[in-house]
């Protein structure tokens, strides 16, 4: 089955009293489904059914009045078309996982 590759980015209003909780929950959902590439940016390579679930969970968590959420749909060869500089080189979950 063709997987979907999505870049998930979010901004959560943390000054809001319920903000930090939303932020944590959104981050946790993203971590379960993909790889953190920066603080609020995740690369998710998923089967379509998993993407439907993740998207629904993220949207249900979002406070549309104060937060924002962006999904970038990427082509499969994202790794080849990406440059990374600096620290926090993300794990390639599709590549060899030898630790």
């Amino acid at each position: 089955m063709r997987k979907v590759t999505v870049l998930v980015c979010y901004d959560v209003q943390v000054s809001d009293p319920t903000g930090p909780k939303r932020l944590r929950r959104i981050a946790r959902m993203c971590k379960d489904h993909g790889v953190r590439v920066q603080y609020s940016v995740f690369e998710c390579v998923l089967e379509p059914k998993d993407w439907v679930v993740l998207r629904a969970r993220l949207l249900s968590e979002l406070d549309a009045e104060s937060d924002s959420l962006r999904f970038y749909f990427l082509s499969e060869d994202v790794a080849r078309k990406t440059e990374h500089h600096g620290t926090r080189v993300p794990l390639d979950v599709e590549g060899p996982l030898i630790l």
Partner: protein
């Protein structure tokens, strides 16, 4: 259809694996090394002593992720698996077929035909860019393998099939020194030996076959077959006979090809191995990592599945073959079609 999911290999002694959310967290000496979502994994392979929480083990079992443990020498120790998948009717059919001499013969014969044919293709392929002085010995090996192939096709007894398989394997391994090129000739190869492997090439082969056997066992369990009840290999306690059966046709094109490409390209050298007191030869840690990286990369390589008429990756071949074997046992196919390299 199964998608190609990844394998997490643990190679550092004292690694701790625990579960956070739906992820595996890998920690070495209190330093978090990686976090991998469970949904990206098909298996976890511990190649050294590792520590895993019961919570993680429970989630792996529930998600159908196979967890296997190898000893530090690369010897297979154990695998953890939940309830068998598939349905009990298929397994009953597998046991009936294994007890039925005629059906066992037909499947074992097909598997050996696949093995010998792929071994011959591997030798012929290597002949194309072998040094001139090696060509006659490789041609000779290919010719003998072709003879064994015809004999296997005509064999009417299971013992005959097993005998021919052994002879073909010996003739095939005799061709191995001729497959070494350039600096890799320093390796040398004086026949296959194991338990323990006593030279670097045998150590590589053993390690590769152990990994492939686990991939095959996982693929068989995935379609609901019992990896322990084989056709070509007799039942023996603790042996995954059907996994070894399934592996036969894949040894040459998957493991042997990888081993020779690594040594011939100089990616692995005789210095990458160490000899234990008892004469056992083992890969050093860095070399073992390099081999694992190459093994995982080889599984991503595309290949044409002739019988199914579609492109696939090497990593999916054991799963496709397990599926074809299940269909054969259900009577949906006239005979088991082994994976054949063109």
């Amino acid at each position: 259809m199964t998608t190609a999911l990844n394998t997490l290999f643990i190679t550092v002694e004292g690694t701790r694996l625990n579960k956070e959310g739906e992820r595996v967290v890998v920690t070495v000496k209190d330093e978090k090394k990686a976090e991998v979502p469970l949904r990206h994994l098909r298996s976890v392979v511990c190649l050294t002593r590792a520590w895993m929480t019961p919570e993680l083990l429970e989630s792996c079992v529930e998600a159908g992720i196979h967890v296997s443990f190898f000893g530090v020498t690369g010897r297979f120790l154990a695998r953890v698996e939940g309830l068998p998948g598939g349905n009990v009717l298929l397994r009953r059919e597998q046991y009936r077929a294994a007890d039925d001499g005629g059906r066992t013969l037909a499947i074992a014969r097909a598997m050996v035909v696949g093995k010998v044919s792929n071994a011959r293709q591997f030798v012929l392929h290597a002949k194309r860019d072998a040094a001139a002085e090696q060509v006659p010995s490789l041609e000779d090996a290919a010719r003998r393998l072709a003879e064994h192939l015809r004999a296997v096709g005509r064999a009417e007894e299971l013992e005959q099939v097993r005998g021919l398989e052994g002879i073909a394997a010996r003739d095939y391994f005799e061709a191995f020194p001729g497959l070494l090129k350039g600096g890799a000739r320093r390796f040398g190869f004086d026949g296959r030996n194991r338990r323990p492997p006593r030279d670097p090439l045998n150590a590589l082969l053993s390690f590769g076959y152990a990994l492939l056997a686990q991939d095959c066992a996982g693929a068989l369990a995935g379609v609901g077959l019992d990896p322990a009840v084989g056709f070509l290999h007799e039942d023996r306690p603790g042996r995954l006979s059907l996994a070894l059966d399934l592996m036969e046709e894949l040894r040459a094109p998957v493991v042997d090809r990888l081993v020779f490409s690594l040594v011939n390209r100089g990616q692995l050298k005789p210095e990458d191995f160490k000899e234990e007191a008892a004469g056992a030869v083992m890969l050093r840690d860095e070399a073992r990592k390099a081999f694992l990286v190459a093994y995982q990369a080889a599984k991503q390589v595309e290949v044409q599945h002739v019988f199914l008429g579609q492109q696939t990756s090497w990593g999916l071949v054991p799963h496709l073959q397990a599926l074809l074997l299940a269909r054969t046992l259900r009577g949906e196919l006239d005979g088991y079609p082994p994976f054949a390299v063109r």
